[in-house]
Structures are given as C-alpha cells and as structure tokens.
Subunit: 334 residues, 3 copies
C-alpha cells in the first residue's frame, strides 16, 4: 500500500482484510513488527486524536513517529506556489514536505480545506500537490475533502456494534456549530456508509446540501453494494428507523467560502443541536456517532453524549486500531 487517501480506492474485501488485521493486532500485540521504522507526521492544522493515535499505533508495533506542526518552534511554512518569500514564512512546503518525508518510512499529512473555491477543495488540489512532491507511502490525515482514517475507524465501530450492512439505516445529520467547518468528514463518512451497503440519508437544512460530486460518488458506491442514498431536511422522516445517527457540523455549500453568507444562514439553525427527542422515531438501540471534537450543548446535548446511545469514545479508540493496520500494511506489506 503506497497511498491511503480514500476508502473508495479499496474494495469491500480489502477493507474487511484491513479490519481483520486491525483486530488481530489489537488482540495479539506485535511489539517488534515495525522495529526501527519511522512515521513522519505533518500537521498543518490542529489535531488531538490523529496526533495521539498515530503515535500510539506506531509505538504498539515497535516503531515510532515524530510530529511537525505549525505551533511548534519551526520556521513559518509557506504553501502558495511561485511566491516571493519576503514575508513571515521562512520555509516553503516544496522543501518542507519532501524533507520531512525523507526522514520517515511513510508520511501522514493533515491540511484542511482552504474553503475559498469549492472546485479546488473537491479536487483535493493541495493534497495532490503534496503527493506530487514525495515518493514515499503517504497517509491522508484529513485533507480538504477526505478523512479515510476516520471512515475506516467508523466502519470498524459499526461492525463491532453489529450494525447491519445491508438493511442498516444510517443518518448523517448536520449539526450546529458557530463556525463553518470543512466537508472532509461528511464526504468521507457518507461514502463509507454507502460502500458498506447501508441505506443512507443525509439530513441537513437548506443551503447545506453536500456537493453533487460527493453525493454522486457515494450513490455509485451504494448502488454497487446494495445500499441507497437520499437526502432530506425533515428530521422525523430522516431518522425514522435509524440504526445510527452520525452527527457532523459543516459549512454551507450554497455560500461556500463566503463567511458572511454562511453565518447569516447558520445563525437561524441553533436548534440543530442533537438531543434526546431527535431519537424518538429511531430504533430503540439507535447509536450516536461523532468524529470529535464535539461542542457539548451546541452540536450535541450533554445527555446524549453522556447517555447509552453515544459510541464516540469507541470510535476514537478505533482510530488507533484501524491505523495500526494501515501502517502495518504500508510498512510491512501483507
């Protein structure tokens, strides 16, 4: 495996293989498997789970990771191509990325969406630039439009919970947040649920539709795997009979890159805080999933997060376990 960028690059059988490996490594530790092996981690944006879980994954396999992030004592990093660097930034990513990669056996990179032009973010053009700069195995640790580690962990979590693939009902629900957040997680997660063969509904207010290319790609995965995809602005209808409500905050796509337009729309939507009554039409054992971090009392209520539906800690732990399989496959092969 030279690239872990998108679950869509893998067949369901390959994903099942990865998760079987993940389970094996979790239950039967191999503390020498990656002895002397190095994972380089470059964060251009904040992280808690990803930074911790990749370090822990490498250590458990006998290797280790090092972290570079902008808040560290490094020289400011410039990302714009062709610019005359007479400002604050002292180093360009055209040097920084290949240098950091040269110290690792593989490299993980996080770079959030620029949220200026939707087509650039949909094309994941910054991640593609990084990819072009290096010739090492590379992991997407959240790019403009993808977050395959989250999607893989969530797949595993639903397997553990016995959430059915065919016939399982998965609701990706927009949730309120004071800021316009990226599309990476909703894009990755809607595809993952479709690829898993589930009946998927994207529940979102008007103006927050997921972009057509994202929906089309997910729908194709649904069709190929016996599932379905629809969208709705009606909570009751969407959640009826759901096995899973996956809460996620994202920016308005109608006003993409337009902060004021987004804010104006968003301001009216503070009641999209997922709370107990939302689950009334769902299955009794319906689960609440969220990738974290989550704003309590804003996106999801305290009583839901502290109640029996929430599996957010299990999802987060599965980040580490799923990533153990990814780095193992990447650095050792099968």
């Amino acid at each position: 495996m030279k690239l872990f960028n998108d679950l869509a690059d893998f067949s369901v059988e390959e994903i099942d293989d990865l998760l079987t490996l993940a389970r094996r490594l979790d239950e039967h530790p191999e503390p020498q498997a990656l002895a002397g092996r190095v994972l380089a981690l470059l964060f251009l944006n904040p992280s808690l789970r990803t930074m911790s879980s990749f370090q822990a994954a490498m250590i458990r396999l006998g290797g280790s990771a090092f972290v570079i992030s902008p808040e560290m004592s490094i020289h400011g990093l410039e990302t714009r191509p062709g610019i005359v660097m007479d400002g604050a930034a002292a180093e360009h990513i055209r040097e920084a990325v290949p240098v950091i990669a040269s110290y690792g056996d593989a490299i993980g990179i996080r770079a959030f969406a620029q949220r200026q032009r939707l087509e650039d973010d949909l094309a994941d053009s910054e991640f593609q630039t990084f990819r072009s700069l290096i010739d090492k195995p590379m992991i997407n640790m959240e790019s403009a439009i993808n977050h395959p580690c989250q999607a893989l962990a969530d797949w595993k979590t639903m397997d553990e919970l016995g959430v059915p693939r065919q016939g399982g009902k998965f609701v990706l629900s927009w949730a309120y947040h004071p800021k316009a957040l990226p599309l990476a997680v909703p894009s990755a997660v809607v595809h993952m649920a479709c690829q898993r063969g589930m009946d998927v509904t994207v529940l979102r207010p008007e103006g927050f539709e997921l972009p057509t290319p994202i929906m089309d790609k997910a729908r194709a995965a649904a069709e190929a795997n016996g599932g379905s995809l629809q969208e709705s602005a009606d909570r009751h209808e969407a959640i009826e009979g759901a096995h899973v409500v996956y809460a996620k905050e994202w920016s308005s796509t109608r006003h993409y890159g337009d902060r004021l337009g987004d804010e104006k729309l968003r301001r009216e939507l503070v009641d999209w805080c997922i709370d107990d009554p939302w689950f009334q039409p769902a299955r009794e054992d319906c689960r609440l999933m969220h990738c974290l971090p989550v704003r309590r009392g804003v996106a999801v209520s305290d009583r839901v997060l502290d109640g029996p539906r929430s599996v957010v800690i299990q999802e987060a732990r599965n980040r580490m376990v799923a990533q153990m399989a990814v780095v193992y496959r990447m650095l050792r092969g099968s």
Copy 2:
C-alpha cells in the same frame, strides 16, 4: 497498581519496594520490559521535568509516551461541566480525557489547582473528575493538592544521601516568589517526610500556614512512623540541627484565591530568599532541596544553588528513576 495518586496510599514497605525496583532498573537496564507499551501524558499546565522524565522513563524500558498539552496544535479544551460550548474551546475534557486514555496502557495527567475555593482544591475535585472518566491505570503528575512523583523522588534522594529516617530533621521552608503558587508540592512533601518518620518543621511566615487537613494528615503519618510535625515562623529555631531544608514557594492560605490579599502579604516577604546565613544553625552537612523550577536570587540565592548543599539536580534525575518503577509496576505488575 491502578492508581498512583498519593504516597499516603502506600505503606513504607511498599514505598521501599518501589524504590528497590527503581534502583534495580537504573543499574540494570531492561530495554525490552515495556516493548510496545504506551504511556499517554496529558498536561493542562506547563511542565519541563515531568514531560521529559516520563518520556525518558518509558523509552528506557522499551516503550514510549506521547504528549498532549494545550500549547500544542490541538483544539482548546473546556473543563467546566454542563457548559454550552459556544466559545473558543472546541473540545471538552469529558471526551478528551477518555480518548487520550484509550490510546495508552496508562495515562498521566497534570492539572494545577484552580485556586478559587480551598475546599475544592483540598478535595482534589478536578483530579477526581478525571479519575471518574477513565478506567485505565492513572498517574497524578501534579494535581491541585498532590505530587506523588516528586515525593517519591525526594524520598529516594534522601535515602541516597543517607539522611536518617527516624531522627532526621526535615524543614519545609516557605520561600519568596512573585506569584501565588499551588499547595501541591508542599502538601506532598510534608506528608512524605512525616511518613519517612522524620522530625518535620514547616517554616513559614504568618498567613502562609498549610491548611489544617494537610497538617492533620501529615501528623498522623508522623505518629504512625515514629516522627513528629510542628510549624514555626522562627527561622533560627526551625532550622537548628536540620539535615534538610526543603525550599518551596506557595500561596497565602489566609487569602486563598484572593490575589490582591496574597500580594499585599507577600510583598513584605522578599527577604525569604534562602541564602547561606540561613544554614548557620543547621547541621554542617545540611542539604538544600527544591522541586524546581526555582527562581535564582528570588527564592534561593545563586551561592546556595551552586554550592555543595544543593541536591536539586539529583532530585530531578530521581524523578525519572522513580517513575520508571511506577510505570513498570503499573504496566507489568510485580
């Protein structure tokens, strides 16, 4: 060992056992003992020794640690319960703490006193909250009212120096500092010296008495182990015949949580900078201990810190050695 929170939870025999293990691991390295094992370290406050020494301890035993601290590129952490998170903090410790713990085989947490209500800090209520959130072995890396790693390292340092247990005279002396510092180290250290069976004096200006519950608990330890505990504001009387002067800065307990009241009292006490003449009534071989960091020329003079009495570097190194024993016992058992 599921919890390392307070030396008072251990008998003198258990502490001696731990220190025997520490010595063994220091003299006879076991670089595979904790292969593949992960220590999660969460710092809600600054650290130099603790952050370094726990990482070094894990590496020496073949495992490793990862660090999360607020100055890193993470999402801001909210600690207040039940709050509507519409401000700057994007993640609540109710998620962050169990998530970080889920990546480790054990977790260490540092969270200084809030210094608002003395009874909350004496109850160590924030640390107890963290404890309630996780089900992994847990290490107190300094809480509102305790610092067991420092106490264990100091016990070891006195053993190495041949400072007697029964009959040894230990003076915990207040020292000047421009800010009101927490009670964690003085509370841990006064109990440790009492538990060691020493004759202990707390030397402090009026208004800086240690809280009654701290003194009562330490006195009980002294009585159980053949030592004694008293307090004094008289330097000469307190230090007469001392084997050890342990310098420490702490806040006024008379004005606890009242910054201006504390400052007014403190301002008059700049002569509480421990200097050579202080040691005149002490034993000739009397040692100066301090947990570090220490403000030179403010809490302790340069000539004392650079002179033969000072054992502060030895204490700091013993942090690593003592902690090797703690993590070894926690992650491997006996």
Copy 3:
C-alpha cells in the same frame, strides 16, 4: 566520542570513518542498536530538520529522543548569569540544562548567536557555558558559530555526488535575506570545504566578509589538506569552473549586532538572489547546495531550486544519516 561540536576536532580519516558508519547504518538497519537509549534534545531556537532528523535517527537505531523547546508548554528559560529572576522566566538554564541532560544518555543543544558582541559569538561562549554545566556526551545542534551536523551531512552529500576533494571548486555564496542571519552555517561550511581539500571561494558583497578568525582557521585546514581559500565580491570570477555553489544568507560583519547598519547595507543587495544566469561561468554539472530553510524568490530562485542543479533535499536527508553515525558512535562507541 564525548563531544560533537566542530568537524575541526576530527581528522579527515575520522570523518571518513564516521561517514562509512553512516552509510552502513543507512543500508543495513540496526533497529536494536540503541534499544532503551535516550537522546535529550533542547532547542532554544526554531528547528524543523534538526528536530525531525535526530528523532528519526534515534528511532531507526531502536532508541528514541525527547524534545524540549521554548514554544512548548514549559516555564520560560533564563540564560543570563547572576540575574535576580523576578521577571517572566521561571527557570534558569543552570538548572534546566543539567536536568534535561540527566534524562538522556546524550544531549543535543541548539542556541543561536546572540549577535550582540562578535567576539562572544566567535568564542561560542554560550555553548561553552552549556558544556560546563553537564557531564554527558553533547552534540552541537547549531551554536553561535558552528553547525557540525550540517557540515558532516554536506561532506557526505558531495561524496555521493562525486564532487572531487582535491581540485574540486567550492563557492560559498552570500544570498539575500530580509533578516540578518547567524554565521554558524557559513563558518562551519567554509571550514568543511577547506578540510575536504577543495579550492574554496567565499563570494560576498562588501561588508559581509567572514570574520578573520573564521577565515584563518579555514585557511589552515585548506593548507593542511591540499586545498585553498580566497574571497571575492565578483560573481563571474568566483563561480568560474565551480563544482558547487553553496548559497547562504548571513549578517553583515561590518555592522555586527547593529540592526540598522546591517539593514541599510542589505537593502541594496536584493539582486543577490541566486538564479540560473549565475551558473553560466560554472561547470555544466555545477550543483546548488543550501542548508534550508530557503526563501524562494529571495535567496534562490524557484527555477534553480526546482531544477536539476539543486541537491537540497539530498543534503537534508543526509542530516539524518550522518547523525545516526554520530549518536551510534557516542552511545555505543566504535
């Protein structure tokens, strides 16, 4: 090896030995060689390559490193001797350095030039102070006047490229930068090229001459090893027939420590951005070297950095490989 501070402390044979070891460890990994061994890394200034490459070097050999840097959540560090610490800094390097060293089997320290008095920086007085505080193997990770890890990596890079030692023509060229940068890299590199027996020219505008003690030391190395050293302000003459142009930005030595004087001189020199035409008098296969970070379009043009002459990524990777040899020799002996 107890100290890695200056390539000048080693004979050419010893350097060749180190580089043979570096090559061996790169080609034939020894992932248990430094099991359980700890490298302490203290950065008083920013770093990307050094911080990453030392961590990676240790991991590849089965040990690990920990990092302390000022931007981390530590107490502010005071470096001035004898000061009354009643300001912001809560810890003095007289404690911090020996404490950090006590957790490692070796320690690396980075502390840039103060750039106040040239004679202090030439004497590397701050690094000598650090050295006096500790009794552990110690690595200079860039001091006021030296950067031996960079010099060793560059030596290796030229060996790999087949750049001749005797008869090889090496041009150290000043390049524009908006700020006055330290002399550590030019000082280390000019000596390295001379010690390698090359014919070395320092190309720099008036006012940016390297200090006489630096030139004298390098010239002695040239004479001892069959090379030569000259300086020039004439680009064409200097670069004629060059095998290597090594670009580096540094402060005016005529106005050392005088920011305004330096700026006035520097402002006129924006055309010292190394670009394709500069190489016209050079050998056709002439290489562009730079220690990084480099400001694109300011110190070196995009087309040179992206073109076939540039070997800057290879140099950066060799930092890790060369440092593997240094820590191996330091911690295991031969």
